[in-house]
Amino acid sequence: MKNELVKVTSGYERFVHWMLAVSCLLLCYTGIGMMYKELNFLGALMGGLHGMKVIHNYTAIAFGISLLLAIQMWWKEAGLFVFPEDWEWIKAAGGYLWHLDHVPETGKYNPGQKAFFLAVALCGLLMVCTGFFMLYPQYFPLASWMYDWVYTFHMLGFFVIFPFFFIHLYLGTIGNPGSVQAMLTGYMEKPVLRMLHPKWYKEMLHEGTLIIKK
């Protein structure tokens, strides 16, 4: 007998997630190709460094739109910490760094996921804003010393987003087998759901919103 499958994401959620993910990855790829002279060769796929810049600029539009949709969709669930339960989880490092028989239970999103959401939301907005200044300097009468910092902050955004992104990728795939299904099919095996989102599972069970795939 196979494990029961529980519906955990809607089609809209998955659409926004992947639009954000693909545009973000493309921006990282083209961005580091321009940031590190040693990685200029990454532009070969796009007809050289100039093509890479053009793709970077246009992808930014998709990123900006999906970022706003993501913030609008998730900020209530993933943007606010709930104490003290989140604090308990942080003190236990979510059970990821040392062995724990019982990981403190959190709601739909654990503090790690919330931190990732906040990092992407805030740094993403920073990237969009600084990027806009970089693209259209002629429309913004900023002093030149302010312009210097625009580039530095754009780099700071990458510095923060990329590590968060990679940990998200790892924990969302092989680090927690079964979790990636949430963003592919929208269904998660019940035991995995109960392990990763125990409180949310209980809430759905209690409220009768638990949808099991027939």
Partner: protein, 268 residues
Amino acid sequence: MTEKIKLYDASKCTACRGCQLACKQWNSLKAGQTQHTGTYQNPPSLQPNTYMIIHFQDYVAPEGDARWLFRKEACMHCTTAACVTVCPSGALYYNKEFKTVGLNREKCIGCKECVAACPFDIPKFDAKTEKVYKCDMCESRISNKMNPACVKACPTGALKWIDKDEAMKIADDRVQMLGGDANVYGDKLVGGTHLMYVLKEKADIYDGIKKNVKLPLSVTIWKTWLRPLSLLAAGGVIGGSFLHYILHGPHKPHPEHYDNDEKKQGGA
């Protein structure tokens, strides 16, 4: 292979603007859109197709007399150049022979990073060609043992293209001779500039001149700190995730996560 300096002696300059025209001619630059600002200074500022201009300034000295001040504005060719530091494509580079700052426009992708970084506000971006333009010290001429076009055109000897040691000596002698507030500008900025001035007045009297110029702190943080740190952080999480996977292992549901009937046959 000697480092060379373009020395501009403001005290010898008559503002004939022959240099400005010669620059246009050698670099095949068309005239740009301009506007009248009430002085002979034309165009009012550098443009994508104007690599150098002569500044005209009416200055009333504290002594009461009016003085007409001239200054040549163009790329200063820094020894530690912010533009070369930030350029992502290698379009901006140091000339190996003379230590000036060259610009290979084929490589320029028009990211405008140099425009923001330059402490002298020299590079100009042309939205039509999507490229950046600035003086390259007539690289095509100097690498063939000729003087830059502006130097060649100068009728008064206000512009010279000479070895650095000689330039320093000439500049110091000239400052001594002029006396008063005369001074050398550029030798102490950003590791020494390769366009240097001899000025008659204190530097801060000149309109639009940059004081206390150094490599912007933001560029240092960006290129010297964040650049390697980002790579370290990225490599750290990739390596860390791998270590986590092989040492700690993935998280799998415990027996408590299974319903009773599933627990009997579901593993873990």
